[in-house]
Symmetry: C2
Subunit: 221 residues, 2 copies
């Protein structure tokens, strides 16, 4: 079965590089978060709001993954944090080997938190390790409350689910309780945060959770 | 280069089966539309509205692609049209070989229009032929007006772009003119339709376009 063999080798190679990335991040005491979502769920806005909310407590850097363009990196750079854009050249997700050179270029000795924005996709990035400590999926209200049912793989593979665009609740038919039940059924340990990147609501709880999980925040001058 | 070889063979095999599917659809005088979009852009609602709007003119069948579950097929079946669910088992798009058995099961002699709802994804389905005559991407307002810039591959590969959830315009920052300009820059020949599957707005123009492209609608008793 030569083709299966190839796939297994590729996955194994990725996992080895991901483990190296993670050891490197551990040495540097950097907590790394892999942010996944559909296109347009608000990943970049969430990165921006997280930076703004956490900046008195932790220093942040970002890796922005996209199939093309560097609009996201340009936008995140306006927040005054180090940022690296990775273009996958049409590929539907980041992998550990793409992230490695970004880690070498970022000033990780001065950083506590690395936000890695994956390519907009609810299928491909699920379960492919980059070296992160936390996997998070952002699901936005306009996408509908049935997404965990239709894309179970990614909802089962994460540590937290962020429900974004909660400010649109009055204008949409979205059953928050039903959504929470679906997530709990697939992944009972996943934390769920309800946020609005437009108003800033709910960001405090998310950031408190990150701070609580950090192994040792650096003293910054 | 054995790995490149494998990829080329897989693509070639898909294209051959897609060509067979298309010949079969041509013989049966069925116009087939491949509908692609992000998760939650409103693909199934668009299928439902299209069926409702076109039903006095054409008979419709549907193929529903998902990574898991059959909620979409169950929903489309309530419209009283033949529908086949294809589960990709985690795969991020349909391919021609998955669609083939569905074509054999559907009563194509009594059908004029086949709507194929692909897996929710703006990367994987782009450019992979299923046998369809028309490729359409649905982009919904909450996803933001920069999607053509960030996922150019799919916007370049389509015959039409549907802007869905236009009813949410008062609540969102979405520049319709800027979006249209981005699409025109990537794909000047693509038709653009502004619709709301909530209110039904814009569906008439879309259906008129389909009717105009049909090679020979059957007389139905």
């Amino acid at each position: 079965m030569p083709r299966v063999q190839v796939v297994e080798n590729v996955m194994k190679a990725n996992d080895q590089i991901a483990a190296q990335n993670r050891r490197f991040l551990d040495e540097k005491k950097v907590l790394a978060v892999n942010l996944m979502a559909s296109p347009g769920a608000g990943k970049t806005s969430f990165v921006m709001r997280t930076i703004e909310t956490v900046r008195d407590h932790m220093r942040v850097a970002a890796v922005e993954g996209d199939t093309a363009s560097q609009v996201d990196a340009d936008r995140v750079a306006t927040a005054g944090v180090p940022v690296i854009q990775i273009n996958t050249g049409g590929g539907c997700r980041l992998d550990a080997n793409m992230v490695r050179p970004a880690l070498e270029q970022l000033p990780l000795d001065e950083i506590d938190l690395l936000l890695i924005e994956n390519v907009g996709n609810l299928v491909c990035p699920a379960g492919l390790a980059l070296g992160e400590h936390l996997n998070v999926v952002i699901s936005s209200l306009p996408e509908g409350d049935d997404k965990p049912y239709k894309y179970p793989g990614i909802f089962m593979a994460v540590d937290a689910v962020v429900i974004n665009k909660i400010d649109l609740l009055p204008y949409l038919e979205f059953d928050v309780a039903a959504f929470r039940e679906l997530v709990a059924g697939l992944n009972p340990k996943a934390r769920i945060f309800e946020v609005s990147c437009k108003t800033g609501a709910g960001l405090d709880q998310w950031v408190e959770w990150l701070i609580g999980l950090h192994p040792g925040i650096k003293a910054h001058g």
